[in-house]
Symmetry: C2
Subunit: 237 residues, 2 copies
């Protein structure tokens, strides 16, 4: 029998992770489809050990699902409605599945009311190897424009994560966590346009970014036509 | 015997409130001094009932301490370090005090590890009648420049609340919750200067505020010298 909820983790408190990636001018998010067979989608999440901080819990959950360590992550909001309980069909699936593996008390523990701490994470999508959980049929990238209806309030959690991301994106200059180590000014601008879902004037954008004095200019990107090759940049160390 | 932690409230999760008021060009915060006699100061806080949302829990705690309903409040951060446990002297005081009133299990419950959800609140200071809790010797307003050393990480919670307040103050235009219903442009500017702890140029400030188109201009404030009397403003409904 696994030592679980009643001993190892803090009750009634979970972490849900909105894991953002960027690819082909699309902002994407990792979503899991449940094995339950009723089309239940959800955000990856987990619990907090009695012996770990909430930040370490979030990092641990993210490492399990992405294979990455030292991921940029930000706690953005707590979701604590009193009716934040699990869908009855999914609860039935869970109880059946969980009682095969855990004792009755732990299965009940997992289907009780949960207050959820929302974290969002920014990853370089090409480095991620999504690892589905034991209750997942799949774990996949979806464009934020094409996210399925999810369980609980997970669509609301995603919306609020996106709002928080947009608020911090400019102020804290965190977008580089979504890009490879080097990038052209055009690629950086495309990232901003994607996150804010609106165009930026190229000259203004370039001036604004360079004025921040956080980028280092490297050699030109080789494209075959040397005179038109754009410069590569990377974040200053 | 009171029905308490083990039945009524969610374990290991608390709410701490940073209650901001404004008076005499000072930003102030409500802090409690403990009865324990060792100079333990703390922010007002409480627990979350199993049957209520975290927002309703925060409103309930605020109403008990201030007498006010419908207070502007904002959830800003969760504090969840694994070593976030109570000072051993204060724990001893608590256990002695609590076991007079509660059973042993509840007293232990209250001195366990707590993950704290931080809320800040903005109140019109003249309307508040501070009500100390059963473990408090006093509950009083202190300028944020003169806050005593507090228990746990409460000084850090205050610092983070102030950062969040400053970030939202401009964007969400929430400062009016700290002022009486009507105010002059000078009084509004003084509030901004106090919160940001820096001067603003009067003409720029007035133009920027009026451009937001959220204020309604009322009659002049009678000061005896009619030609010099400033206009009163209030927030548009």
């Amino acid at each position: 029998m696994n030592k679980f909820g009643t001993e190892k983790y803090i009750a009634n408190l979970s972490i849900d992770c909105v894991i953002f990636g960027y690819e082909n001018k699309e902002l994407k998010v990792l979503v899991a489809k449940s094995k339950s067979g009723d089309g239940f989608w959800n955000l990856p999440g987990g619990y907090i050990m009695k012996t770990e901080s909430i930040e370490n819990a979030a990092s641990r959950i993210l490492k399990v699902r992405t294979g990455l360590e030292n991921i940029y992550l930000e706690q953005f909001k707590v979701f604590g409605h009193e009716n934040r309980i699990i869908d009855s069909k999914f609860r039935a699936f869970l109880l059946t599945h969980l009682t095969e593996k855990y004792n009755q008390a732990d299965a009940e523990w997992m289907t009780d009311r949960f207050i959820c701490i929302g974290f969002y994470a920014l990853v370089e999508i090409s480095k991620v190897n999504p690892q589905k959980g034991e209750l997942d049929e799949s774990l996949e990238w979806r464009s934020i424009k094409d996210v399925p209806e999810m369980m609980h309030d997970h669509n609301k959690i995603l919306d609020d994560a996106l709002k928080a991301l947009r608020q911090n994106f400019d102020q804290k200059f965190i977008g580089f966590n979504l890009l490879p180590e080097t990038f052209t000014m055009k690629e950086l601008q495309e990232l901003y346009e994607t996150v804010y879902n609106k165009p930026f004037a190229m000259n203004n954008f370039q001036k604004k970014i360079l004025d921040l004095n956080v980028l280092e200019r490297l050699e030109k990107k080789f494209t075959g036509a040397q005179n038109k090759a754009p410069y590569l940049y990377r974040l200053k160390r």
